[in-house]
Symmetry: C2
Subunit: 144 residues, 2 copies
């Protein structure tokens, strides 16, 4: 598993919010609605989305007509921001063999090839935004 479960839930939920905001013109979507449509545990999703609001990626509002919404435009929220908030950046900085001091100075035997791929992956998640994904979403939803 590349990401934790929580991280995949966060991405799915953020994407669904982005789609709903543009499609239905709503600002705040209740987490219960997201959990139902994504078939996820409401309480668990709530906790994960709290991380995104703390990271100022999303905004939340309590009470009737409350819910959660993007803190800025969908094309200003890249996947790396969500990944970083939920899972941290260790995937993109750590040695594949888990060696603590591996780096350019003291490379492990896998360092060259892995760090190259690692950077490519990172760049990919940096340039992919919720807006990018939302375009694809119109053709293929992820309730597959």
């Amino acid at each position: 598993m590349l990401f934790s479960k929580g991280c995949t839930y966060a991405i799915r939920a953020a994407l669904l919010v982005a789609v709903k905001e543009t499609r239905e013109g709503r600002k705040f979507i209740p987490i219960r609605e997201l959990a139902d449509e994504l078939d996820l545990s409401f309480h668990f999703l709530t906790k994960i989305l709290q991380v995104l609001t703390e990271a100022e990626i999303m905004e939340s509002f309590r009470g009737p007509n409350g819910g959660i919404g993007l803190a800025r435009e969908a094309n200003k929220i890249s996947l790396i921001q969500i990944i970083s908030a939920v899972d941290g950046m260790s995937l993109f900085s750590e040695c594949a063999l888990g060696l603590p001091d591996c780096g350019e100075a003291k490379p492990c035997p896998l360092h060259q090839s892995w760090s190259k791929r690692r950077e490519e992956l990172k760049r990919m998640f940096e340039k992919t935004t919720l807006a990018t994904l939302a375009q694809d979403f119109s053709k293929n939803s992820f309730r597959n």
Copy 2:
């Protein structure tokens, strides 16, 4: 974390065995010796290496002068074989968003970009063998 801890230990140990076999001309290396040099728990490493012997990647021998050795030449053992035995191949087949039915037929919004990187990573681990790593090892050990 790309791999489980056990998987990184397995790769480190297998590589050390490869190096020791060629450098010192020994056929079986005691696991205790590997655990000491790699600074890993002996019992845990033993359990992980059992997986590699079951997968016929390594061979073991009990009793005095016993230990563990490669089941074939180092250039015939690719990292993907070790990874597959310990962690399975799910990293190279699963959807980045964890969606069960994601694939060419029903792609999630990340499918195109991730499956491409996934394949590249897989090929990299297929073509990297213990012999490849052992070359690098002569310059930089991994007790860093």
